[in-house]
Symmetry: C2
Subunit: 216 residues, 2 copies
Amino acid sequence: MARKTREEAEQTRHLLLDTAEQVFWEKGVAATSLADIAAAAGLTRGAIYWHFSNKLDLFNALCDRIIPELEILDARLLDSSINPATRLWLHGHSMFALLHDNPRIRRICGIHHLGCEQVGEMAPLLLEQISWTQEKQAKLQQVLHCAQEQQLLRADVDPKLAAIGLHSLYGGLIHSWLLAQDDRTIHNNLSALLSPYFEGIFKERCWLQPLPCAAE
Amino acid sequence: MARKTREEAEQTRHLLLDTAEQVFWEKGVAATSLADIAAAAGLTRGAIYWHFSNKLDLFNALCDRIIPELEILDARLLDSSINPATRLWLHGHSMFALLHDNPRIRRICGIHHLGCEQVGEMAPLLLEQISWTQEKQAKLQQVLHCAQEQQLLRADVDPKLAAIGLHSLYGGLIHSWLLAQDDRTIHNNLSALLSPYFEGIFKERCWLQPLPCAAE
DNA sequence: GTTTACATACATACACGAATGTATGTATTT
DNA sequence: AAATACATACATTCGTGTATGTATGTAAAC
């Protein structure tokens, strides 16, 4: 076969990423060969090895495609135009809205949770997840600390621990959500699922009041 | 090599299970070959194929070894000699105590969370996890329903949703716990991490009072 | 109490497919 | 003409499953 134009080449690159994402999600990362992906894309391994150096490189490239969406999510978390409690509340809902509306994020999240091993060969993936987790927790902690300064937290709540708890709750809910893809229970009752933890952290449902943020 | 006595054979069977558990945890299930396990155990693949039919069979056998401990955990959850709120509180702590004290449970839990794919070839594993999750949630829901009848729940709390939330929180905390094996933060502050959700579900810290259980 | 016959508990060897990485071919672009 | 964007072909390695070898335990026959 013959050469394509630059645009067409870029197109096949994205086709490979899309296809790999799909097959990884269906069969698991370790269980899929590059031949599987190439065949599913209607190409050969030659195309893959042209665009990527190996399977891990392909996998990383495919994961990196959702970084922008996640950064938007985090940016909103630090938007100080609304009070920290409400910000956390909205952030939680935005996460699941994104998961619900964006199939790519859903698949990649699913691959990370269920479709790949995070040890041995894929250890760098685990390290990345650890650092990402710590960054995320740090941001939550920052917002919670801000809430504490505004007297929004209950007396015995420690921002750091509350951040770990909240982050774990999110992770656990996402996992349950992914396990039963077609069950809409979590999506339909997200507020009721998150409320108890917010109730236990904040005073008097302050997260439901879109009060402007005091001095941060 | 020659034949061993029945006891010695049973011993090598357990040696294979122990070794496989260790290697699976270090390298991941898919990334581990039977030759790896045999070598680590100081045996050959012949020994593995004698005791198990293939890798999946070995893996299942190794997972099944922790069932008794988990059943004890669940049995205590349904022990009606203490009130449901306290029962849930103690159950949560027992879970993490078990994870902390029992290295085998820690490894197998770790393998399920981080060291194996749950789709494709390992799909039966996922199905098992789903049904196990549903059973676990059903038990939590049952205890929460019992608490509701005793007026221990807050007004707007639905037992089913609270069970999902609680179960997800546990799963998320375990995941965070496994990611940072040597960080004792979660283990040392478990009460502070669980408290907010209990605060949001139950009235007036009733889970801290070891009141006898009313009629169930 | 020996001897014998068979089952056991592995080790070893072999055959096969699968997956990878690379080298090369080839028709277009540029 | 040279680089590009792949397809094709090849060599090699790795993992599995099975077949076979073999020395010992075990129980029954005698």
